[in-house]
């Protein structure tokens, strides 16, 4: 599969501090690429560099196979839509008037406005002044503006910020469907669960370094399952299996076996039953993405 965005050793320094450090990003065409990382990891700076808003200190960016430079930046960005950080808007104008300005600047026919407003379900609010919109509505308007002209590439920086749960779900569905319309999406978030629900590919950035990049399926393979036990006497069962040489681990008020075969699970259940300990529940649990992040970075992060 072709990469629609490729960066090579992309670096940005502020006051001799590298906020983005030799980043090699590969965004496959037709994917929803989740760009994941804690707050301050360098996600927004990276997106701004991809849009030519911030000049990289080092490295190279290729979008649609062309090397991005100040000279060809706007030509390349014609096929790109973006929503960076907070949505941009003219508060004294209505939503529709805001989009008319974008149409004019993008050289897109105004009939496209109704299409994008329908996509973000904003038809009813289009004549209201944007200063009276809620943050969620402004966010939707920003996405609508990014979708004007059916760009081949969409860069969305934390697009669900400020949305209510129903709105978040709608935007997720919208983003998931975009590749069907030939749009590749690069979406950043600090929420693992969010990326998990809409991305096909993932890049994880921490302190400016890309610490993981592959498909979501591969990321999930990092999540080895564990078998959680709930018995009539968890402490006694834990001691019994531990003495029997099984790799049991205690967690809060129960215990689990880490990544074991079916035979070992059967053996563990049998030993408990033979010892007169009732087995209420044996549950297979996948590692959460938070756990995966922890194993990749070696530290807990607030996600």
């Amino acid at each position: 599969m072709n990469n629609i965005i490729t960066t090579n050793a992309l670096t940005k320094e502020y006051d001799h501090k590298k906020v983005v450090n030799t980043l090699d990003l590969h965004v496959p065409e037709g994917s929803v690429y989740g760009f994941l990382g804690p707050n301050g990891a360098g996600k927004s700076t990276t997106l701004k560099m991809l849009l030519g808003l911030v000049k990289p200190t080092g490295g190279e960016i290729r979008v649609f196979g062309k090397k991005l430079s100040q000279e060809n930046r706007l030509e390349i960005l014609k096929q790109t839509g973006s929503l960076i950080e907070a949505p941009s808007y003219y508060g004294h104008l209505s939503g529709k008037e805001n989009l008319r300005i974008i149409c004019k600047l993008k050289n897109v026919p105004e009939k496209d406005i109704m299409r994008v407003l329908h996509l973000v379900r904003m038809e009813k609010q289009m004549d209201k002044k944007v200063k009276n919109y809620s943050l969620g509505m402004k966010q939707r308007l920003g996405i609508a503006a990014a979708l004007l002209g059916s760009p081949r590439l969409l860069l969305l920086d934390e697009p669900t910020n400020g949305l209510d749960p129903a709105g978040i779900q709608e935007i997720r569905e919208l983003i998931r469907d975009l590749p069907e319309h030939g749009i590749t999406v690069l979406v950043s978030s600090h929420l693992l669960a969010e990326i998990d629900q809409m991305a096909t590919d993932v890049g994880i950035i921490d302190k400016g370094h890309l610490i993981f990049q592959d498909s979501l399926v591969i990321l999930h393979e990092h999540s080895r399952s564990r078998i959680l036990f709930q018995t009539s006497d968890n402490e006694a069962a834990f001691r019994l299996l531990n003495t029997a040489g099984m790799s049991v681990k205690w967690e809060t008020d129960s215990f689990y076996l880490d990544h074991v075969s079916d035979d070992i699970v059967m053996d563990a259940v049998g030993q408990c039953v033979n010892a007169g300990i009732g087995v209420f529940r044996v549950t297979e649990q996948q590692k959460s993405l938070e756990d995966i992040f922890l194993s990749l970075t070696g530290k807990q992060v607030s996600l």
Binding site: K48, L51, G52, L53, V54, P87, S88, Y90
Partner: protein, 252 residues
């Protein structure tokens, strides 16, 4: 993108901003001031009514144009600050083009305001029945000097407005410019030339002699400083490019 398209988009942004009210308010203020200040008290006043108008307007402009320009540029630029639109606009249009559009949009209203002096003086003369001639070359000198001095101050106000997240700073700069310009009239000529806001007065071409004994003011025309104005226009052009370069260096 063509400049004309960018200008149309800029014009669309100004809907409901009622920017025309600003030059209208300035012209109305100047008109009322002219009516009050140029009212003839004796026959000799009528004989030099238009001449005295050309003495009054550069001084009046020194006082009100710095504030007018600060408010005008604020109205033109603050929508981008409030709406955080730079990061969107800079992906759609060239940064220089964006800056040029803003400048040209403000310049349009400055041109209107500068030209507005002409009908004010004419109407005032008709109302009071001035008997001297309204000389076209004087109208040209007044309008042109007002416009060219404003082009430079506009650059300063625009860079301040685009760089400040708090729009109070550019407004305070305009207000300070107005005071400085007023006080610069009492400075030695060389020092007065350091105050950019004071050039409305410096390019004045009608002077006054006031005879204390007869209490009669006599106005007379001086040679207009065309070379000075040309030099000022060149400096204004340089300042424009410098200010644009400073404004566009800011990362969004």
């Amino acid at each position: 993108m063509k400049m004309l398209t960018a200008l149309k988009a800029e014009q669309m942004k100004h809907r409901r901003r009622m920017l025309l009210l600003l030059p209208a308010a300035l012209i109305l203020f100047e008109f009322l001031w002219a009516l009050w200040s140029l009212e003839p008290r004796k026959a000799s006043d009528l004989a030099q009514g238009y001449l005295s108008s050309f003495y009054l307007f550069p001084i009046l402009n020194s006082l009100i144009y710095p504030i007018f320009l600060a408010v005008l540029v604020n109205r033109v630029c603050d929508m981008e600050i409030k709406g955080d639109t730079f990061k969107l606009l800079y992906t759609l249009q060239d940064k220089k083009q964006f800056y040029n559009c803003k400048y040209l949009m403000a310049l349009k209203y400055v041109a209107l305001s500068a030209l507005g002096s002409w009908p004010i003086i004419w109407v005032t003369g008709r109302i009071y029945g001035f008997t001297d001639m309204l000389e076209p070359h004087m109208v040209l000198q007044l309008c042109l000097s007002t416009f060219i001095v404003s082009t430079l101050l506009l650059s300063i106000q625009q860079v301040l407005s685009l760089l400040s997240s708090n729009q109070i700073l550019p407004l305070v700069a305009g207000l300070a410019g107005s005071f400085l310009s007023l006080f610069s009239m009492f400075f030695p000529p060389a020092a007065a030339r350091l105050i950019l806001w004071g050039y409305y007065g410096i390019f004045g071409f009608v002077w006054m002699d006031w005879d204390r004994s007869t209490r009669i003011s006599t106005y007379y025309e001086q040679n207009f400083d065309w070379i000075g104005l040309l030099l000022f226009a060149v400096v204004s052009l340089i300042v424009y490019f410098v200010c644009r370069s400073i404004a566009l260096r800011k990362e969004v």
